[in-house]
Amino acid sequence: MAKVALENVVKTYGPVTAVGDVSFTVQDGEFVALVGPSGCGKTTTLNLIAGLIPMSGGNIRIGDKLVNDLDPKDRDIAMVFQNYALYPNKTVAKNLAFPLQMRRLSKDEILRKVTETARVLDITHLLERKPRELSGGQQQRVALGRALVRDPRAFLMDEPLSNLDAKLRVQMRTELKRFHQDLKATIIYVTHDQLEAVTMADKMAVMNGGTLQQYDSPKNVFDHPVNTFVASFVGSPAMSLVPLRRVVDGDTVALAGNGWQMPLSPANARKALGAKSDKLILGARHSTIALHDTPHAGTVPGRVYTVEPTGDVTFVQVHVDGAIVIASLAPDVPVRSDTNVWLGFDQTRMHLFDGETQMALTQT
């Protein structure tokens, strides 16, 4: 296994920039998830690492080797595709053997490695079948097996679980994580599902519009999103964002909406003063918002829009100043739609963003 480093990688198609100036380093043995919405450039980035499409600029290193101009076959990586890309006219055994044959291993060694990989993945009984005779989950395992059968320097995975049904997806997620731990493999994993990224990855690279937004551990991305995009993309349900005004009155700094003000704690006040203008965005995750049926000091008025019981928790969507805020309640607390409520934000766990730049405001 080896580390993989991207330096100012750019990919353009004519006037369109698919990937713009992306840099990050995946350490040896690290599991990194590339996440973002459709068309954010994550799959393009993966294909650039694989060498399947030529770069427009920048450098990619695998280990200490600059691989910019190397063919995919010379980069010594393995890839798992979203549609598995199993060779339909070959049996499972031959699918697994193909990468080894291409590398001119001896027949004995190929047989030994194929058998061993099949044993590890529990697909020995499928070896003589053709891919179309397998279920989706079995095809997924074979695709994984074809990547595992040789010792590549890194694994690239392009939404490998997204074609599986929900139950199998959760099961394979656990297995993949276990593989990573056992193999100490360098894995770069593309997904649009932030939950997969958060649960499996050591680090996540959040992309949007072809640029890297944030590259950090899932916990840091979750706790300290750098901008409103990351804040709203990571976490389920998403972080609620409310555009508000900053009001400074002597020593006190407050957030103001339509007919109400919420004084900020000293730490938050310092953050708020760092904004370029009076436009601020308040961000809060559902678990940090308290709901009251009567006004208290520092609470914010709102009106219940919908109530969504999920069993464990009940999510309550509340209209606050034209924006929707999602709060959570224990399932036995009664709430009704179209009633007035007051929201208490936990000032130690709330986020403030600059309304102009959308960037997180941090204490300076």
Partner: protein, 282 residues
């Protein structure tokens, strides 16, 4: 409600039976006539079923020592040679062309692709004189080369178009996987894509073979020496020379249709796949 549906279904069946009769009856009559004696074939009222069936027409046509048979076998060989050359050359060009149209984005790709199809907007006869003049310049009139070239210009667009549909349906990830697994671009094409496109190549080959095998107008115009003629033109000659020998003519026609029908029956599975796979996205 269900009565109406049944009514339509019956109407459909009647229609299909009529179509079947329309296409099959001439064939059956051809076959029946070909095993009659000449006398029986000319009888009126006609013998619906041959009273004394005979294979002598076939033995005559397939006997190289018989002058008629000798001519017939030569025509057949000429047709076979021209059709096979057209097919092999056509596939050799169409496969890489279709693959490139399917996989690569290059300047002028759309324009070129439609330019390739442009030929099919005109009936073949429109090009008869221009091509004849062209072939004279090239000094190819009276050679099989002129026919092969002509059939290629007609057959290639369709072949490329059919094959492109086939390649479009082979996921590009298969090649990408192969390249990551250690194959060069060409190996990925040869080892992974080619085996998967065999049905498409077979179907395309049948198309171009049948097209060349059946073609009449160009063969009649470009060829003049009797020993060069292809079957359609040769049989036309039979018609002129042995106008009264209906059974012989029918036997010759039947023998001419045999390779086409056999090819089609053997490969129809691939044929249907080729026509539908390009159309339906999975």
């Amino acid at each position: 409600m269900s009565g109406r549906v049944d009514g339509w279904r019956w109407a459909g069946r009647v229609f299909l039976v009529l179509i079947l009769l329309f296409t099959a009856v001439p064939m059956v009559w051809m076959l029946l006539t070909s095993i009659k004696s000449q006398f029986a074939a000319m009888q009126y009222p006609p013998q619906w079923w041959p009273k004394e069936p005979t294979l002598q027409n076939y033995t005559k046509l397939l006997d190289p020592t018989n002058p008629v048979g000798n001519d017939f076998l030569r025509y057949m060989w000429n047709s076979f040679y021209v059709s096979l050359a057209t097919t092999v050359l056509g596939v050799a060009v169409a496969v890489p062309a279709a693959y490139a149209f399917s996989r690569f984005r290059f300047p002028g790709r759309t324009f070129l692709f439609f330019a390739v199809l442009l030929r099919n907007m005109f009936p073949a006869v429109v090009f008869l004189m221009p091509l004849f003049i062209l072939m004279r310049w090239l000094g190819l009139v009276g050679t099989h080369g002129s026919l092969i070239l002509t059939y290629l210009t007609f057959g290639l667009p369709l072949s490329i178009w059919l094959l492109k549909g086939f390649y479009d349906n082979i996921p590009i990830q298969l090649e990408q996987a192969a390249r990551i697994d250690g194959a060069t671009r060409f190996q990925a094409f040869l080892l992974i894509v080619m085996p998967l496109s065999v049905p498409g190549i077979l179907a395309t080959s049948i198309f171009s073979f049948i097209g060349a095998w059946n073609e009449y107008v160009y063969a009649a115009t470009f060829l003049n020496r009797q020993d060069q003629l292809t079957l359609p033109v040769g049989i036309q000659r039979f018609f002129a020379e042995f106008a009264t020998d209906w059974p012989g003519l029918m036997a010759a026609t039947f023998l001419m249709s045999v390779p086409v029908v056999v090819l089609f029956l053997v490969l129809q599975r691939y044929f249907v796949r080729a026509l539908t796979e390009g159309a339906v996205k999975s």
